[in-house]
Amino acid sequence: MIPNSLQDFNLGYISVIVFMIVVAVAGTTLISVGVLIRPKRPSAMKSIPYESGVPPVGRARERYSVRFYIIAMLFVLFDIEALFLYPWAINFDGFVRRGDGLFILVEMLLFIFMILLGYVYAWKKGALDWVF
């Protein structure tokens, strides 16, 4: 018999973890099996970063546009808000059938209204425009 602790963990998750391990092993094998047949002739010229044939100037890990940081921040804000909508959407069906539908809908409309306030603010501030 499969132990109860495993049953509780829902055997599906174990299969998924096993699958991920098998995929990782397969990926590593695919990369490393070529060692047997591929050439290995490193040279100084070959290891220069490729910049369309022009000798590279400066380093690659320099400063970059602040827009990327803003997008990352907006993503974190709005994605967490979207995440709160998931449990609500799943349970909406049950609430509606129990007759509490209007209450929970209004609650969530208030929440979405607050998301929209932040969204309109970000838009008006120009955070959604790539170029000012």
Binding site: L30, I48, Y50, L116
Partner: protein, 370 residues
């Protein structure tokens, strides 16, 4: 025993409560053996589908451009994917001077694992049925109750491989490609996530198999959720960095983007990951909006065709759509791309969600809803 009609059970079946959905097999040894066999079958199906998808893509796009496409290796060029794989295996693995070597080596695997792992929960047939050969080949590796969340999580994790590759290469083009890609993937992930909430309100579950069953019992979700579907499709194409949203690897600006410094099979893994995640999005679109493994009508000529074939047909339709879009539309500019996600798709997805909720509330009260 095997019969076409019972191949993963396509016929109409009542919706069962989740508690009854557990695998009936209780012997751990047999259960693990079945898992391993299912796993290898599904992994091979994923890899072979991906290989022949590249062939199909070249052929379809060639025909759209009045060319022949690959036709030298084998009949109709059918051996082309194998020739490509052998070529990639035989190429030298060059580590550039500026590279951060350990990260550079791990990045392709980091991008490969989440792409393939998404296929662990795609149900190829009714995941509550026994499966093929008396349970030895199950319709899905796992029938998780958090299906959609799992898919979204994997599509987010996929971006780590891209950032690691771009950062560790020590190349300006790679770095730019990785930054663009991460900005694009996180923006479209948001719209992808919100566009699915309409489906969740309708179905009331995150389990992919139950969503298919509900569509079988009522109607394909593309009809009530048309706007959700459109947002999902656009976000899905952008999420996998395909044309016309292939900014991260815009050949004319960035040479190849984040995988510019990769050669040989390491490049091959990025290529595999990109195509497999594209397959996963196509399969997800087929499952969430086009009824997955369920036949379109529960009448005789349709129910005779087994579930995996229905899923494959719908999946192939979406792949064809990808090729069609790729050969039709020019590439976006980066500010247009971001504007589309944040200023167009985000409001549409939110509106779709609110309207779905209101219609469901009214519908249940008036008794339209089953």
């Amino acid at each position: 025993m095997f019969s076409p009609a019972r191949f993963f059970e396509t016929g109409a079946a009542p919706i069962v409560a989740p508690e009854q959905a557990v695998n009936p097999q209780t012997d751990p040894l047999i259960w693990f053996l079945q898992t391993f066999i299912t796993l290898f079958v599904i992994m091979n199906v994923v890899l072979v589908t991906m290989a022949y998808q590249t062939w199909a893509e070249r052929k379809v796009i060639a025909r759209m451009q009045l060319r022949h496409g690959p036709n030298q290796t084998g009949p109709m060029g059918l051996l082309q994917p194998i020739a490509d794989a052998v070529k990639m295996l035989g190429k030298e693995f060059v580590v550039p001077r500026e590279a951060d070597k350990p990260v550079f080596m791990i990045a392709p695997i980091m991008s490969f694992i989440p792409a393939v792992a998404a296929f662990a929960i795609i149900p190829w047939g009714d995941a509550r049925s026994e499966g093929l050969l008396g349970g030895w080949i199950r319709p899905a590796i796992a029938n998780l109750n958090i299906g959609i969340l799992y898919m979204l999580a994997l599509s987010s994790v996929g971006v780590y491989g891209i950032i690691m590759a771009g950062y560790s290469s020590g190349n300006k083009y790679s770095m730019l490609g990785a930054l663009r890609s991460s900005g694009q993937v996180v923006s479209y992930e948001l719209t992808l996530g919100i566009s699915l909430i309409g489906v969740l309100i309708q179905s009331g579950t995150l389990n992919l198999n139950d969503i298919v069953r509900q569509q079988q019992a009522s109607i394909w979700f593309i009809f009530p959720q048309f706007f959700g579907f459109v947002v999902f499709l656009i976000s899905g194409i952008a999420e996998t960095n395909r044309n016309p949203f292939d900014l991260p690897e815009a050949e004319s600006e960035l040479v190849a983007g984040f995988h510019l410094e990769y050669s040989g099979m390491s490049f091959g893994l990025f290529y595999l990951a990109e195509y497999i995640s594209m397959n996963a999005i196509a399969a997800l679109a087929a499952i969430l909006f086009f009824g997955g493994w369920a036949p379109p009508f529960d009448i005789v000529p349709f129910t005779l065709i087994p579930g995996p074939i229905w899923l494959f047909l719908k999946f192939a339709f979406f792949l064809f759509l990808y090729y069609w879009i790729r050969s039709t539309l020019p590439r976006f500019r980066y500010d247009q791309l971001m504007g589309l996600a944040w200023k167009v798709l985000f409001p549409i997805a939110l509106a779709n969600l609110v309207i779905t909720a209101v219609v469901k509330l009214i519908g249940v009260h008036m008794g339209w809803w089953v």
